[in-house]
């Protein structure tokens, strides 16, 4: 008899949907069917029980091949690498739970490491803007129940967050939004004609790299000032129209994406987006939210803020104090300057995401990859330690893009008795303590 598990959280995008229904085999080892998830989320569940998963740690041999080793040996090697390194870097956490992040934090503190997450190459510019300007936001249910105007700026949920529009923003019927889509105005601001732009009422096709000017124009108009006939490729009357709609909203939300964080202006784009949101609150109610990429990439910022006071780029090499200085203590910058002498890649693929010179520098030193799957990082590592797939083989707390904690469920047993990230990091910690005693 197959078993149906309801209310399952999806370990794919930052929408962190928790209404998935998963049918598993009688013996609880295999995912048979997945309902409610988007196509990609569906794949994540099926992938976990695909035959051929790596189930034991692998150590690189002098001839370049991998040899399977025991967890005990892998843990001992990882602990020794961290104890011996002067400036190890532990980076990633795009795909794990908060329990794993917390356990890794303890290891990093013990090792005197730099601890960083994918925000470093992603929404890090959002953090910089938040440090300067704040973050007037809300939970996604607020948007669903109240919002009558939605702005997607430089984000394309139709592709990156497939169920975002249907669950939270455009289509759902909420308490004060019983008409659903019919009662909402959708404004999309994007240089591309995306699928999100196609469902919007208004698409402002901003000139690539000129978002800051357009925000500035909005702010000027909101305060009653005059603007040129054309700003950032958008005619004045279009800006006036959109600003008018925003000002008349009962409740509005700006969802912005990587298009702001990674085009000219970067953190300044996010900063002025926040300022515009603050301005709008002089007239009515407005909120803003970063479209975080992964299902728990908000997690490290939350967990490490309570443990260390900083969300990312956390330098613990002084051991008795922590400091954060993006540009100095950020992963790519450290690697580009060749300052790191041991690298732990966890729940991400630095091999694929980092610039080639950064990878070349990191490659000179011990490189450990902790990931359930084979990826570019695992293929160039010295040591690959497989772990359970969060959301499938282990549960735990994850933080959705609106920082709401969702308690994820385990749906099948971990393949071949592999450890969870939390168990692995706790064992590495214990081994480091033993090595300390021996020394």
């Amino acid at each position: 008899m197959a078993k149906v598990i309801t209310g399952v959280g999806c370990p794919y995008c930052g929408a962190s949907c928790d209404d998935i229904e998963v049918t598993v085999s009688d013996d609880g080892t295999k995912v048979l069917e997945v309902k409610n998830a988007c196509a990609i989320g569906n794949q994540v569940f099926h992938h976990a029980s695909t035959p051929g998963r790596i189930t034991s740690p692998r150590l690189r041999q002098p001839d370049g091949t991998y040899k399977e080793i025991s967890y005990e040996e892998a843990i001992d090697r990882a602990a020794r690498i961290l104890v011996n390194a002067k400036k190890p870097l532990i980076y990633g956490f795009g795909s794990t739970n908060c329990e794993g992040m917390s356990a890794a934090g303890r290891v990093a503190e013990k090792a005197g490491a730099v601890l960083d997450n994918c925000a470093s190459i992603c929404h890090g510019s959002s953090f910089l803007a938040i440090f300067d300007n704040g973050y007037p936001s809300c939970t996604l249910g607020e948007v669903k129940n109240r919002a009558d105007v939605i702005v997607y700026w430089a984000s394309n949920p139709a592709h990156a967050h497939p169920r975002h529009m249907s669950r939270y923003s455009i289509f759902p019927r909420g308490f004060f939004t019983g008409k659903g889509h019919m009662g909402r105005k959708i404004i999309c601001i994007d240089p591309r004609v995306t699928d999100t732009a196609r469902v919007a009422d208004i698409h402002l096709q901003v000139q690539q790299g000129h978002d800051y000017e357009l925000f500035n124009a909005f702010r000027t108009v909101l305060h009653g000032g005059d603007i040129p006939d054309m700003v950032a490729g958008i005619p004045k009357e279009k800006i006036l129209e959109a600003a008018g709609i925003m000002k008349k909203a009962r409740f509005g939300t700006v969802f912005y994406g990587m298009g702001l964080c990674h085009s000219d202006g970067r953190n300044h784009n996010v900063d002025i987006a926040i300022s515009m949101t603050r301005d709008l609150n002089e007239f009515t109610k407005w909120t803003i939210m970063a479209m975080r990429g992964h299902y728990n990439i908000a997690g490290p910022g939350v967990v490490w803020s309570w443990q260390f006071g900083f969300p990312y780029c956390i330098d613990m090499t002084k051991r008795d104090l922590v400091h954060m200085n993006p540009g100095e203590t950020s992963s790519v910058d450290l690697a580009m300057r060749d300052e790191v002498d041991a690298f732990v890649n966890i729940g991400t693929d630095a091999g694929a995401h980092f610039p080639i010179p950064a990878v070349q520098h990191l490659k000179k030193h011990p490189w450990i990859t902790i990931d359930p799957n084979i990826c570019m990082a695992s293929e160039i590592s010295d040591l690959h330690i497989p772990v359970a797939v969060v959301g499938v083989e282990t549960g735990g707390v994850v933080y959705r893009m609106d920082n709401v904690p969702i308690q994820f469920k385990k749906v099948v047993e971990p393949a071949g008795g592999i450890l969870t990230d939390e168990e692995l990091f706790d064992k590495i910690y214990e081994r480091m303590c033993e090595l300390d005693q021996e020394a």
């Binding site: 300067d132 936001s137 129940n145 109240r146 909420g174 613990m316 104090l321 920082n403 709401v404």
Partner: protein, 571 residues
């Protein structure tokens, strides 16, 4: 677990009526015991010349959860040059100042001799976050109060006068969130903030829901007494922080008239008004802003069914954070610093704004004076508790400084007269004319016995009676030879000489020695089966929440050491 005999200290335990007598306190198996119960192998701690009290109990402090963490993330500058270097062997790094990390929070409370802290506001939807942080806050026992005062279920039940249904829902929510008490923040006003609005009087109708703050407060008192909860409703009234708001406060407090407590946990109040300092303002502008502490306390002193905490301004740079979303927006309009806000669906909101209480800003100085006046005008210190609404009016590690000001007229007068606008501050306040100096016994009432009683946990905390949890603080100050320099009072209370938690010596002279398991307290109230409420919960989750009902209740692994207070009102 070791045995300890704390010998020859000056013991202050208001519960047992011990007022500075030289006597011994014994610890065994994690509890306070009769000295005769100890074996000959007990470790003797020489406390002669020192002050001995039960572990401190904080009734209201924002230390764990979503908005506290927003405060940390928002302010890297709160760490810069303001974090001490890690010293101890067992401790983690200690970062942050006004919003310390969980580790620093646990250590600093311990160093001050505290053993229980109530997290003041837990948004139910984000309860797992609060519990994750409490789990990561070492040593001190904790509980958290879910915020109820703007919850849609509650607004609808109370609008229809359905106290039983509201109670059934409240009990369900308490269990789901592993919460402890009914917290109410700006009732109705925070829901109005969903539209950018507010309720600044207790008669402003809540948009759409068509109920007033006054009706919410009365309805929640009735709900609370129906459920016979250990604590009363814990209220942050409307109109916080505005000149002239003392009239709103008095009107609010009068709503409790005629109600009497129904609880088996020993409390005598039906309403706790938190951070009263922020609610005792006269004048009608910042120009003629003045203290109304006396007017408010004259009323509180007559009403046995009220308790209050101070919310003292400590004149620090700090980080304000509250579920009073509209207030934070308003504050941001005054200081123009950065502003974070998180509205939480169907339940509440939260705002965070950094704030600098400048020593030479007249309004800040008047606020400082009001906080102290509230304590100094109080007649019953068992109903008056020391807080700073941490971190709103100041960080919790200023409690020892407040104790100094309360115990030494000289110290507060020196500060008062050093203000740039001293004359204007004196004219707008009563502080200079007050001679009262608090005794050690009164401090013990305000920081231990009183809050433990008001929270309904006096059977475990707040006293040195045999059988109580083995929480003891020994302070290096001699009540028979008070130091000439009042700063010595602050020093003694900031870093206790010895601190015991559940019978374990956890700190000595500020050094953390051990981090034994800590407890999460919560209240499980069994109510009659209520099919309608069950259906309402199911429906609201299906239609309006963005999370699945199955994933809403806080799972046990987030609170590894639970002390569940079981109530059964069906019996």
């Amino acid at each position: 677990m070791g045995e300890y005999l704390i010998k020859n200290g000056f013991v202050f335990d208001p519960v047992q009526g011990i007022n500075g007598d030289k006597s011994d306190v014994a610890l065994k198996d994690g509890k306070i015991v009769e000295t005769t119960a100890l074996s000959s192998g007990a470790t003797v701690i020489d406390a002669s010349g020192m002050t001995v009290m039960a572990g401190g109990v904080d009734i209201h402090s924002h230390v764990a959860g979503a908005k506290v963490d927003v405060g940390r993330l928002l302010r890297p500058e709160d760490k810069l040059f303001k974090s001490p270097k890690k010293t101890g062997k067992v401790s983690r790094v200690e970062m942050g100042y006004s919003v310390p990390t969980t580790f620093k929070t646990g250590y600093d409370y311990t160093r001050m001799g505290y053993s229980f802290v109530m997290e003041a506001a837990m948004p139910p939807l984000e309860a797992p976050h609060t519990h994750e942080e409490m789990r990561d806050t070492p040593i001190i026992d904790m509980a958290a109060m879910p915020v109820y005062g703007n919850n849609w279920f509650m607004l609808e039940y109370l609008k229809n006068g359905e106290i039983e249904n509201n109670a059934a829902y409240s009990a369900w929510l308490m269990t789901a969130t592993k919460g402890f008490a009914i917290k109410v923040v700006n009732p109705g006003g925070t829901e109005a903030w969903g539209w950018g609005l507010n309720c600044t009087t207790i008669h402003d109708p809540v948009p759409y829901f068509d109920i007033t703050p006054a009706e919410i407060i009365k309805g929640l008192i009735e709900t609370n007494e129906y459920l016979r909860l250990p604590h009363s409703i814990h209220l942050h009234p409307n109109n916080l922080g505005n000149p002239g708001n003392y009239e709103t406060t008095l009107e609010t407090l009068r709503l409790a008239e005629g109600y009497s407590p129904k609880s088996d946990f020993g409390r005598e109040q039906v309403l706790h008004n938190t951070h009263l300092q922020f609610h005792s303002y006269g004048g009608d502008s910042w120009g003629n802003f003045e203290s109304k502490a006396k007017e408010v306390m004259d009323y509180v002193n007559q009403q046995k069914n009220l308790t209050i905490d101070l919310g003292c301004v400590t004149l620090d740079e700090t980080t304000t954070m509250t579920a009073d979303g509209p207030f934070e927006h308003h504050l941001n309009g005054l200081n123009h610093l950065k502003w974070a806000n998180t509205d939480v669906e169907l339940e509440t909101a939260a705002g965070v704004v950094p704030y600098v209480y400048g020593k030479n800003v007249k309004v800040c100085d008047i606020q400082w004076a009001i906080g102290l006046e509230i304590a100094l005008f109080a007649k019953d210190m068992m109903r008056t508790f020391l807080t700073t609404d941490h971190p709103n009016a100041g960080p919790f590690f200023r409690y020892p400084r407040i104790i100094k000001w309360l115990m030494s007229k000289q110290s507060r007068d020196e500060l008062l007269h050093s203000f740039k606008w001293a004359d204007r501050v004196i004219a707008a306040t009563n502080l200079e004319s007050i001679d009262r100096e608090m005794t050690f016994n009164e401090i013990a009432q305000m920081t231990r016995a009183g809050p433990a009683k008001a929270l309904g946990i006096a059977h475990m905390y707040g006293s040195l009676k045999p059988g109580m949890n083995g929480n003891v603080a020994v302070y290096n100050i001699n009540p028979e030879h008070m130091p000439a320099d009042p700063d010595e009072i602050e020093k003694a209370f900031l870093r206790a000489a010895y601190v015991f938690k559940d019978g374990v010596m956890v700190s000595r002279d500020g050094e953390i020695l051990a981090t034994p398991p800590k407890l999460a307290l919560w209240v499980n109230a069994k109510v009659p089966e209520n099919a309608q409420v069950r259906r309402d919960i199911y429906e609201k989750f299906r239609k309006y929440y963005s999370v699945n009902l199955e994933n809403y209740p806080v799972r046990d692994e987030l609170a590894p050491n639970q002390r569940v207070i079981e109530l059964d009102i069906t019996a």
